[in-house]
C-alpha cells in the first residue's frame, strides 16, 4: 500500500494489527447483526435452502414409478410366469396381464399403458437354446420417460437373469445390454443426485447472490461513502463482508448435508472432510464473484439479476447437476469449463455417491482453489475507496 510508505503518526498506528483487528471485528459484528435482523438474508440463507430441499427432495422427482405396462404372455410356461413375476413384484411397474397383442396394442394407442412387454410363445424353448428374446414396445411420447422405462425393464430382466445364473441353470436371457449409468444409482432414486446438486445451488445463492446484493445495498444507501472516510482499509471492508456470509453459507451447507443424510438417506461414501473442504473452496469462489460484481454494479436490482445470470443459472443448467455435460454440444461444453459450479458438482457427486476418488478430487479442488485465489485478488484490485 502506498499509504504505508509515508510515516504519519496516526497513519502508522491505524495500520497496526490491533486496530486493524478491532476494525474487522466491528465490521463482522455489524454485518452479523444486519443478517440476523434482515428478514431477506434469513430468507435467502435459511428458508430458501429448506424450501429447495423439500421441493427437490419430495416434489421434483425424476423417478418413474408404478408404470402401467401390458405384459403379453402368449403361452404361460413356468419360465414365462416366473419371468413376469419379476414385474408384478416390482414397485416400478403396474402390469396388466394379457394373452395376445391386439388388445395390448389398443391399450398402448389409448396411452392407458406406457409399454408392452411381449413374452413370445417360444420363450421357454429359446431359453434352453440360450437365445431367448422378449419384445419391448415403449410409448415414446416422453422420450425421457421412455428411456427410463427401458432401463427399468433391462434392470428387471438383468436381475432375473442373474438369479437364474446363480441357480446354475442354463444360459441366461440377454435381450439388451444394461447401461452403465445406473451403476451409482442402483436404487434409481433421483434424490441421490438431486440433493447433492442442491448443495451447489444453496452455496451459489448465499455466496454469490446475497453478497452481491448486500454490497450493492451499501452503495445504494450511501453507507459506504461515510465509511470510506475513516481509517478502514478496503481489504478490511471486503473481509468484513466475506466472513459472515461464509459462515452463513456453511450453515446452509450443513442443512443440506443433514437433510441429504437423514431425510433422503443419500449415502456419503467419501470423507466428510473432503466434502467440507471442497464446499469451503466453492463458497469462497461464489463470494468472490458476488463481491466482484457488486464492485462495479452499484444497484441491488441489477446486481441480483447479473449474479443470477452469471452464477445461479449456469450452476443450475450447466454444471452437470441436472443435465449430463457429456451430452451437450461442444460449444456449450466448452463454456462449462469456466464455470466453478462444474468442478464442485463433480466433487460432490464423487464424494457423495462414489467415494474419495482422488483422481477426481485433486484436479477439481486445485481448479477451485485457483479460482478462489484469482477472485480474491481481483476483488481486492477493483475495490477502491472512491466514488464513481
Amino acid at each position: 500500500m502506498a499509504q504505508m510508505s509515508v510515516s504519519g503518526e496516526s497513519g502508522s498506528s491505524s495500520n497496526a494489527w490491533p486496530s486493524k483487528l478491532r476494525r474487522m471485528r466491528a465490521l463482522v459484528m455489524k454485518e452479523t447483526r444486519q443478517i440476523v435482523r434482515d428478514p431477506s438474508s434469513i430468507a435467502i440463507g435459511a428458508v430458501l435452502p429448506l424450501i429447495l430441499i423439500l421441493l427437490f427432495g419430495y416434489g421434483l422427482s425424476l423417478d418413474v414409478k408404478n408404470v402401467p405396462i401390458a405384459i403379453v404372455m402368449e403361452f404361460p410356461t413356468p419360465e414365462a410366469v416366473d419371468f413376469a413375476a419379476g414385474f408384478q413384484l416390482s414397485p416400478y411397474f403396474h402390469p396388466f396381464m394379457m394373452r395376445s397383442m391386439p388388445p395390448a396394442q389398443q391399450q398402448l394407442l389409448e396411452h392407458r399403458v406406457d409399454g408392452i412387454l411381449r413374452i413370445p410363445a417360444d420363450f421357454s424353448r429359446h431359453l434352453v437354446a440360450g437365445d431367448a428374446e422378449v419384445q419391448l414396445i415403449v410409448h415414446g411420447g416422453d422420450a425421457n420417460r421412455a428411456r427410463i422405462i427401458e432401463g427399468y425393464v433391462q434392470g428387471i430382466v438383468g436381475v432375473w437373469a442373474a438369479r437364474l445364473a446363480s441357480q446354475g441353470s442354463a444360459n441366461p436371457v440377454q435381450p439388451v445390454n444394461v447401461q452403465a449409468r445406473l451403476w451409482f444409482n442402483e436404487a434409481n432414486d433421483s434424490s441421490y443426485f438431486l440433493v447433492p446438486g442442491l448443495v451447489v445451488l444453496v452455496m451459489t445463492l448465499i455466496g454469490g447472490l446475497l453478497t452481491a446484493m448486500v454490497m450493492a445495498r451499501e452503495w445504494e444507501r450511501g453507507t459506504l461513502e461515510s465509511m470510506f472516510v475513516t481509517p478502514v482499509r478496503s481489504d478490511e471492508i471486503l473481509l468484513g463482508k466475506t466472513l459472515p456470509y461464509f459462515v452463513l453459507a456453511l450453515f446452509g451447507f450443513v442443512l443440506c448435508v443433514l437433510s441429504a443424510k437423514f431425510l433422503f438417506h443419500v449415502p456419503l461414501r467419501g470423507s466428510m472432510w473432503v466434502l467440507l473442504g471442497a464446499s469451503m473452496l466453492y463458497v469462497l469462489v461464489a463470494l468472490g464473484i458476488g463481491l466482484l460484481i457488486s464492485s462495479w454494479v452499484k444497484n441491488q436490482l441489477v446486481a441480483s439479476q447479473l449474479t443470477m445470470l452469471v452464477t445461479f443459472m449456469p450452476a443450475f443448467m450447466l454444471s452437470g447437476f441436472l443435465f449430463d455435460l457429456r451430452s451437450m454440444p461442444t460449444i456449450v461444453r466448452m463454456i462449462t469449463y469456466v464455470l466453478p459450479a462444474r468442478y464442485y458438482v463433480a466433487l460432490l457427486q464423487s464424494v457423495f455417491l462414489a467415494g474419495d476418488v482422488w483422481s477426481v478430487i485433486i484436479p477439481n479442488t486445485l481448479i477451485l482453489a485457483g479460482m478462489a485465489a484469482a477472485l480474491a485478488l481481483g476483488s481486492r484490485a477493483v475495490m477502491h475507496k472512491t466514488l464513481a
Partner: protein
C-alpha cells in the same frame, strides 16, 4: 504538520474536476478553483445547485480524484495519500450512511471502532455526545426508526466519536426542520468554540453561511468570493430596501413585480412586506421603499445576479386561465385520519383551500405532509374523515377528481432514461391528450419552462433545477385547476427557489389553486394561508402574519417564521412530553 489556529487546514490550487456525460460535453464541476480553509474556524461553501460544492468536499475526503491542480488537507496531498487524510478527518455526506437496521448505540460503536477510539475515550466522549444530541434516551432504538432530524444528529455524532482534525459536512441541515437545524448548529458551534474544531461545510441556507467565520461562494465551478460573510454583506450596503404592498395587493404579487424589473437584483416577501435589493445604478424611486440594513443573502444575490450572464427569472402564462379567486372552496378536509397499523400518520386534521389560493403545509420530515397529499390525490385511502377535492369526494370518484388535479411528487416521478420531450409525451398520453392538443401542450411546456435547449437530453442528466421544472411541466400538461407540490424546493438553491415561486405566483394569479409542502419556513411568506404540521397534527393555521404572531412570546421583537415554527412545535411537544419527562434523566445515560 501545523495545526495552529489560523494555519490552513485545506488548500486547493487550480483544482479542476470534470464529469463525463452521455451525448453531451463533459460538465466542469470545478474549474481551476483555488481556495483555503483555516484551522480552528468554521468555513462555509455556498452556491447554487451544481456549483461544485459536493465535488469539492468529496475531493477533500479523498473519495474522488481531481483531473488537475493540487489539494492539500492537513498538509497532506490528498490525491497521493487519501488514506492518511481519511485517518484524521471526519466526513458527513449529504445523506449520512447510517445503518438503519442497527441501533443508535451500535452505529456509534461501529464508527468508534473504525476510528480506533478506546473504551476509556468513549466513556468521556459518549456522555458529551448524548447530551449535545439528546439521543441518550433512544440508544437502543433502530436508526431507521428515528425522525429525519434525529438521524442527522446521529450522523453528526458518528463523525464526532473522536475529535477530528478536520470535519467536512455536506449540507448537514438539508431537509431538517428548523428545530433540529438549530440543534445541529448548536453542536457544531459549541465544538468549534470548545475544542477549536476545524469545520468546512456546504449549505443552501444563507443564514447559516452568515454565522461562519469565512465563506467561499462557488458558482458554476468557480469561486465568486472568498472571505468573511461581512465582505459579502457590505456589497448590498445602501441597496437593501423594504417596500409595503398597496392595500389589496399581496406581498407576493408586489414581490413578483419587483423581481421582473431589470433594475432590481432580488426581492422576497418578508413579514407581509417585500424586501428587495437594487441594482447599483438604479436611481428612480417610485417605490416608497424604506432603506434597511443589508444581510448576507442580499450580497449573495448581488454576486450571483449582477453578472453579464445573469439568469432571467421567468414567469409562466397558461393557455386557459381559470375564473379568478372567489370564496369557492376547492379542497375541503374534515377530520382526516390515516393510520398505518398502530401508527397514526395523520391525526384528525381540518383545512380548507379556496380557488386561486396558495396553501402551504409546513412541517419537519415525518410530520405527515406527504401522507396528507397522497390522500388528497386519491393515491391512498384515508382511514377516516372526509375529503373533497374539486367538488368530488376522492374516495368515491377518484378518476374524475384526479383529472382536475396535477401532482408533483417529492422525488419527481420522471423516467430517467427518457429525454425531456419523451417524458412530456408520455405524461401527455397518460392524461389522455392526443393529436393537435397534445402537440400544442408539449410545445407550451417546453417554451414556458424553458426546456427547449435540453429537449433531447435524458431527464436523468438534467441538473436539479431543470428536473424540477420538467416535473412541474409534466404535472401541468392537462391544465389542472389544482396543483399539488410535495417539497418542490427541497435541496434547491436560492436562485432556483426564486424561479420556482415566481412561476407559482403567476399560476395562482391565473386562477390555479396551489397546495404546497415545504420545510423552508421563509417560503410560507408566499402563501395566502399556511398550516404547521407536526406528528400528524395541525398545530397552527392561518395567514403567514397570524402564524408569525405566535412566535412573539419567544421574546424576539420581530419573530421570523422559523421562530414561530419553533415556538409552536416546542409548545406542542412540551405538552406531549410532559408525561414522558420522567424517563429522561437530567444527565445523559450514555453508559447504558
Amino acid at each position: 504538520m501545523s495545526s495552529t489556529p489560523g494555519g490552513a487546514a485545506l488548500i486547493a490550487h487550480e483544482l479542476t474536476k470534470q464529469f463525463a456525460r452521455e451525448h453531451e460535453a463533459p460538465v466542469c464541476a470545478l474549474d481551476k478553483v483555488s481556495l483555503e480553509a483555516r484551522h480552528g474556524e468554521l468555513t462555509a461553501i455556498v452556491g447554487p445547485d451544481g456549483a461544485g460544492k459536493t465535488t469539492l468536499l468529496r475531493l477533500a475526503a479523498g473519495l474522488l480524484r481531481a483531473d488537475s491542480g493540487s489539494l492539500h488537507v492537513l498538509g497532506i496531498d490528498v490525491a497521493a495519500h487519501p488514506q492518511l487524510v481519511q485517518d484524521r478527518i471526519s466526513y458527513m455526506p449529504q445523506r449520512f450512511g447510517l445503518y438503519e437496521d442497527l441501533t443508535v448505540a451500535e452505529n456509534l460503536n461501529l464508527y468508534a471502532d473504525l476510528h480506533g477510539v478506546s473504551n476509556a475515550q468513549r466513556e468521556l466522549r459518549y456522555p458529551q455526545l448524548m447530551e449535545m444530541t439528546a439521543l441518550g434516551p433512544f440508544q437502543s432504538r433502530l436508526a431507521g426508526q428515528l425522525s429525519g432530524g434525529m438521524k442527522q444528529k446521529l450522523g453528526l455524532a458518528c463523525t464526532l466519536v473522536r475529535s477530528p482534525e478536520l470535519l467536512l459536512l455536506d449540507e448537514p441541515t438539508v431537509g431538517v426542520d428548523p428545530l433540529s437545524r438549530r440543534e445541529l448548529w448548536e453542536i457544531v458551534t459549541r465544538l468549534v468554540a470548545e475544542e477549536s474544531l476545524t469545520v468546512v461545510l456546504s449549505t443552501a441556507y444563507l443564514d447559516e453561511a452568515e454565522r461562519c467565520k469565512s465563506v467561499i461562494m462557488l458558482h458554476r465551478g468557480q469561486v465568486l468570493s472568498h472571505g468573511s460573510p461581512q465582505q459579502v454583506t457590505v456589497l448590498a450596503e445602501g441597496r437593501s430596501f423594504v417596500a409595503t404592498p398597496e392595500p389589496g395587493q399581496t406581498a407576493r404579487s408586489l414581490q413578483a413585480n419587483l423581481l421582473d424589473r431589470t433594475d432590481i437584483i432580488d426581492a422576497v416577501p418578508d413579514g407581509g412586506r417585500v424586501r428587495f435589493v437594487r441594482n447599483a445604478t438604479a436611481v428612480a424611486d417610485d417605490l416608497h421603499a424604506v432603506s434597511v440594513a443589508p444581510r448576507f443573502e442580499d450580497g449573495f444575490m448581488i454576486l450571483l445576479r449582477e453578472r453579464p450572464d445573469r439568469e432571467r427569472i421567468a414567469t409562466i402564462v397558461i393557455a386557459h386561465p381559470f375564473a379568478h379567486r372567489g370564496q369557492e372552496t376547492v379542497v375541503g378536509v374534515q377530520g382526516l385520519v390515516k393510520k398505518f397499523g398502530t401508527f397514526t400518520a395523520v391525526d384528525r386534521i381540518d383545512f380548507e383551500v379556496r380557488r386561486g389560493e396558495i396553501f402551504g403545509l409546513l412541517g419537519p420530515n415525518g410530520a405527515g405532509k406527504t401522507t396528507t397529499f397522497r390522500m388528497l390525490c386519491g393515491l391512498i385511502a384515508p382511514s377516516g374523515g372526509s375529503l373533497n377535492v374539486a367538488g368530488a369526494d376522492v374516495r368515491t370518484a377518484p378518476a374524475s377528481a384526479r383529472a382536475r388535479l396535477g401532482y408533483v411528487a417529492q422525488k419527481f416521478s420522471l423516467y430517467g432514461p427518457l429525454s425531456v420531450t419523451e417524458n412530456l409525451e408520455f405524461f401527455a398520453s397518460a392524461y389522455g391528450l392526443r393529436g393537435e392538443r397534445k402537440r400544442a401542450r408539449i410545445d407550451w411546456a417546453l417554451q414556458q419552462f424553458e426546456l427547449g435547449e435540453h429537449a433531447r437530453a435524458t431527464s436523468a442528466q438534467l441538473p436539479g433545477g431543470y428536473k424540477q421544472r420538467l416535473a412541474m411541466a409534466a404535472a401541468l400538461l392537462h391544465e389542472p385547476e389544482i396543483l399539488f407540490l410535495d417539497e418542490p424546493t427541497s435541496g434547491a438553491d436560492p436562485l432556483a427557489r426564486r424561479a420556482f415561486w415566481r412561476r407559482i405566483t403567476a399560476l395562482a394569479e391565473q386562477g390555479v389553486t396551489i397546495i404546497v409542502t415545504t420545510h423552508f419556513m421563509q417560503e410560507a411568506e408566499y402563501c395566502d394561508r399556511i398550516a404547521i404540521m407536526d406528528s400528524g397534527k395541525i398545530l397552527a393555521q392561518g395567514s403567514p402574519a397570524e402564524v408569525r404572531e405566535l412566535g412573539h412570546n419567544t421574546g424576539k421583537p420581530e419573530p421570523s417564521m422559523d421562530d414561530a415554527f419553533i415556538a409552536v412545535v416546542e409548545r406542542s411537544r412540551g405538552r406531549t412530553n410532559a408525561a414522558a419527562a420522567g424517563e429522561r434523566p437530567a444527565d445523559s445515560p450514555a453508559a447504558a
